[in-house]
Amino acid sequence: MDLRYKADPPNIFEMTAISPTRPRRRLSLRQQDARTAWLLVIPSLVVILGVALWPIIYTFILSFYHAPTGINQVRTFVGLGNFIEMVKDQTFWETIGRTMYFTVASVGLEMVLGMAIAQLIHFHPWGWKFLRFCLIIPWAVPTIVNGAMWRWIYSADFGALNSLFMQLGLIKHYIPWLTLPNLAMPLVILADVWHMMPFVALILQAALATLPIELDEAAAVDGANAFQRFWQIRLPLLRPAILVALIARTVDAFRVFDIVYILTSSGPANKTLTITYLTYLNSFPWGKQGIGAALSFLISIFTISMALIFIRFLYRPEETQ
């Protein structure tokens, strides 16, 4: 905040007076602007920092301690000990790898499907309003129900998937889907894509809706075909929305927990164990809060890095003046 204001403390009554001829201090437009900016930003800052700041600091500090759960437990400072222990653990790296696999596949599918569906809606085929309305449904079903529902669809003896494939003649025997080590993660990915793809579709569709129609028409007149219009005209303009959807989904997919907890409990044989699940296991059932905190930080480092990478490559700031 600009220190020049300190010399002239604000007069609340003056400032809130509705009279149109109240005296104005002589501030440059830029300074006035900056002050407005602070006023606009402060309520949000207060909420976010007020709630999250201390817990984040607490967790950060805890990650440097050996901190077993308990009332009379002694916490010993171990410096980077927790981080080193994690980095030396094979399970940690396998889990990071698995989580990356989940994230890339899940987000990739969601972005592609979401874009396709958003574009489809944008073309206004018959029933497009109904389609857009129905998109909300998978997203509105709470994750708990989503997990239970997919668990049951994948059920070996009673599941709809087996029944459907059997009737379509694709399989001869019912398959115990969730017990197959290499298939388990794709199944979780499918459940997550079904649930979250609407989010991407709706963001992109809203962004498409605000694009000026003239650009598209002008390009058509200039002889650009449909694909060129999409790739060279619409896509770049959608960049901010794509960036938001991409980062939001990537960060959330990397930290996925709920759906794995309900659908597979990290099985079979840890094949669906994700990094947040590992963090949960350490912090709660296994009572190792120092490690849990260290893992949280490692996760944050990963997600921040990913977000920064996306921003680096995709962010083209608009003019702000």
């Binding site: 018959w126 708990i144 129900v145 709920d258 003019e319």
Partner: protein
């Protein structure tokens, strides 16, 4: 000939929408079918796509609590109302204060602008499970456990950063010329925000509101740990209660799931037209 081609195009597009509908609805119809079945029917082999003995009992147990034998359905309606209250409060406040911050961060140059942007996003990077314990300690010492306010405030701390960031992206797509024109006409910065940018960004705001609402709606772990009784219990926690120690009341859970999906869907229906109205606004050039 042109008309014929146009019709063909429409037909082709429609054909593309069919698989999308199937993908969306196949699980949902199954969900719906389960909610109308009894447990024994659910596990019939081969599965009955349409229940042969459909029953509304699962829904009745939830909607008319006095008929229920188990306490779980009885409490569900209350939990649902809690969810609605909490998610609405989170959404309204987040959009309210978040839109202000979002605009300031993308359009107004000031010191620490970049820092604040990064800081806001960074707070969202930590997995929520990690923050539960310290938050619980704070909430407990403030005697806020099991009150809706604690969930509202906690959810805002994760919903706000996203809401701000999403709205910022939408604000960025508003042509800068419109703002410049307003400035020339003598508008103050706040004036630009409220009179030019916000009205045009309605589709974006509505999308953000939907996202925020669903974020709060879907949240489970915090609701589980921070609430104990119906005073503040939310729908996902109530649904989790359909999971008994060993056996899951799947039919009840599916019925509960359908009912839980209704409020967001109804809200989407109501606010759909605001997304539509934005389309024409975007075409206006200054």
């Amino acid at each position: 000939m042109m008309v014929y081609l146009k019709l063909l195009r429409k037909l082709l597009l429609f054909l593309f929408t069919l698989p999308v509908f199937f993908f969306i609805f196949f699980p949902v119809l199954w969900l719906f079918s389960a909610s109308l079945s009894t447990q024994v029917e659910l596990f019939a082999i081969p599965p009955h796509w349409i229940p042969q003995h459909p029953t509304l009992q699962n829904y009745l147990d939830i909607i008319f609590p006095s008929l229920a034998t188990s306490s779980v359905p009885r409490t569900y309606a209350v939990a649902l109302i809690n969810s609605i209250k909490i998610a609405s409060a989170v959404t309204v406040i987040s959009i309210g204060i978040g839109s202000l911050a979002a605009y300031a961060l993308v359009r107004i140059p000031f010191r620490f602008n970049r820092t604040i942007q990064l800081g806001i996003i960074a707070t969202r990077m930590i997995p929520e499970v990690s923050l539960i314990l310290p938050l619980f300690i704070i909430a407990s010492s403030l005697r806020l456990i099991n009150k809706p306010i604690v969930l509202i405030v906690t959810y805002m701390s994760f919903a706000l950063p996203y809401a701000i960031w999403m709205m910022a992206a939408f604000f960025q797509t508003v042509p800068i010329e419109l703002e410049d024109a307003a400035r020339i006409d003598g508008c103050t910065r706040p004036g630009i925000l409220f009179r030019v940018v916000l009205p045009i960004s309605v589709p974006g705001l509505v999308s953000t509101a939907m996202f925020t609402f669903l974020l709060a709606w879907d949240e489970f772990f915090y609701a589980l740990i921070f609430t104990s009784t119906l005073a503040a219990k939310t729908a996902p926690v109530a649904i989790a209660e359909f999971v008994g120690r060993y056996a899951v009341n799947i039919n009840g859970m599916m019925a509960g799931g359908i009912i839980a999906a209704l409020p967001p869907v109804i809200l989407a229906l109501i606010f759909q037209r605001y997304i539509v109205s934005g389309m024409t606004a975007g075409a206006v050039k200054g």
